[in-house]
Symmetry: C2
Subunit: 181 residues, 2 copies
DNA sequence: CAGTGAGCGGAACAAATGTACCAAGAGGCG
DNA sequence: CGCCTCTTGGTACATTTGTTCCGCTCACTG
């Protein structure tokens, strides 16, 4: 609901209707609207971390070069984005809300750490020499590119934008490693 | 106001109070709240494009290598972010709102185009061989890194995160050019 | 100088929203 | 079976919000 119609749309009545429950259920199960939002955000954040972890854990054991990694990551994230753009919109809303609510900020911090850890793992797998530093760059680029796609959708995002960009980035990061070696 | 307390906080009364005007002024000057938001978003988007254009136009004529570019861009954007984080929060809200309101989506599209144009210009200046393709990557990375800083602020963002990341990216993008040549 | 219209100030109203309250049902347990 | 607690269903109420309305001020204009 947050992703589809914005955080304003999350009213007790709207939530109840979506859940097929009476309005009172929303105040029966949650102390307040604030708490309801908090639980929803926490749940969603954890699901998102799990989702991303799954992607990298699936990729980690394979022997892939930079281009393959780019293709795999692009495919996984692009289809995720296409299948459910609202969720990604909602996540960015979550991040922004985190700038205002301390408890959410912490959760967003954990979420970002998970992303960084995962990027680092991937970078190590393709042989980056500075996986920790590069992870920030990779996560930033992925986040930014996906946000760009949300904002201004391109018809063939995965093929024309996302994969090429990631391939170039990954290739550069590992080529440097090769050059140094 | 959007950046500080979220889009929900933009009520006629709150706007009037911030402007030091009576409530009726908000409906006198704007047909509806929707129109008020629209005008505010359009104005802000144009200001933002102008701001970014100014940065690159200032940098373009200079003879800078990748590291200098990274330092200059990092300094400009990081101080902008630190001076007024709310504005950047508001801009991301704007992007998200753009996924729901067509008129805003167009404006966000123009905004992104401006960014891409500017990145391309900068990349050309440092000698990238694929400035158009790389621009997406650079804009994505910058957007993502700045969003990350909003979400989870690091104490020495410019020095410890932003500049190093940009320097690495710019260096890689141009080193490749050198290698090819 | 009278008039006139743009803008100010605040009150008022209907709709939406957060929340409280109460009555009925359901399902286990003595 | 009768009771009791958890849950449901719906209504009610105060507050907030979008919007309207009307009287007032004041600068300009013919």
């Amino acid at each position: 609901m947050i992703g589809e119609r914005g955080p304003d749309a999350v009213t007790h009545r709207a939530v109840a209707q979506r859940a097929g429950l009476p309005v009172s259920a929303t105040t029966y199960w949650f102390e307040s609207k604030e708490q309801l939002l908090q639980e929803a955000f926490l749940l969603a954040a954890r699901e998102e971390v799990a989702r991303v972890e799954a992607v990298v854990l699936e990729l980690a054991p394979r022997e892939l070069d930079a281009a393959d990694w780019a293709a795999a990551v692009a495919a996984a994230l692009a289809s995720d984005l296409e299948d459910n753009p609202s969720r990604h919109v909602a996540f960015t809303e979550l991040v922004l809300e985190g700038t205002r609510r301390p408890w959410l900020r912490d959760e967003v911090g954990r979420w970002e750490s998970a992303w960084l850890r995962l990027a680092e793992m991937g970078l190590r797998a393709v042989g980056s020499t500075k996986p920790v530093d590069d992870a920030r760059l990779v996560v930033g680029a992925i986040t930014g590119l996906m946000l760009g796609q949300l904002a201004n959708p391109q018809p063939h995002f995965e093929d024309d934008v996302f994969r090429p960009a990631l391939e170039r980035l990954f290739t550069l990061l590992t080529e440097r490693a090769i050059l140094r070696a």
